[in-house]
Amino acid sequence: MAVPKRKMSRSNTRSRRAQWKAVPPSLVTCKRCKERKLPHVACPTCGTYDDRAVLDV
């Protein structure tokens, strides 16, 4: 089995991990309740999508 020959330095590890970045989700305003919600997804606040009740809130 192939194994690493050398210890990964702290610097290299941290350089790699420096690229793990959280991205803020792009949100839109719900047509019905004006809350912020994910696009193309039923609104978790009022439970509707396209003015159609989808979730029980």
């Binding site: 994910l38 997804v41 039923a42 978790p44 999508y49 989808v54 979730l55």
Partner: protein, 239 residues
Amino acid sequence: MPTPAKGPRLGGGPAHERLMLANLATALFEHGKITTTVAKAKRLRPLAERMITFAKRGDLHSRRRVLTVVRDKGVVHELFTEIGPRYENRHGGYTRITKIGPRKGDNAPMAVIELVEALTAAAATVSEAEGATRSAAKKTTAKKSAAKKATAKKVAAGADDAAAAADLAEEAAQEAAEDAAAGDIEGADEAAADAREVADEAAEVADASGDPDAEKAAGDAEAYAEIAEDAAEDAKKES
């Protein structure tokens, strides 16, 4: 014909995937609406719609084809007696997938897949007319389609125009009534005249298109115009 699924099977193997999809389809026909992951809902849709197409055909052979997937005879009976006939006027598109965001726990994107409501015969003809208008619009280069497009557009637009006119007439009638109540005879008269004009226009559009919906809307518009005129007359009498 739905395109074959790309990528890995659901579950541990082809048989596992078949079983999972069969269970999902059974649950969908039993409850009419189920919550699952987006990936499963997307794979379930073509299978469930094929089952409904079999149910619409309704003969013994198609029933046996469905029974190879949905093993529950009670669910198959419901599918053939209730769900199939419900979609008589629909040509495909019997299910709706709505995304409902990530699941707590593993952040899997979830969705609700449900059987859509039945389509009335009138709505079916309207959507067909709209489709004809759209396809006609695409063929603007072809001379033959020009005439067809005009008629299709008239039918589709006729109903909308007449309905809009009915709304306008209603507004005018309300205005007339308000003016009459306030003792403003001239305003009431004017509003009544507006309503009458709009109603006449609606009637013309409806006649040209020959659409029963449009004619009905035109009738509504005329009724509103009459109400407006009555209100104006009342105002005159009172003064």
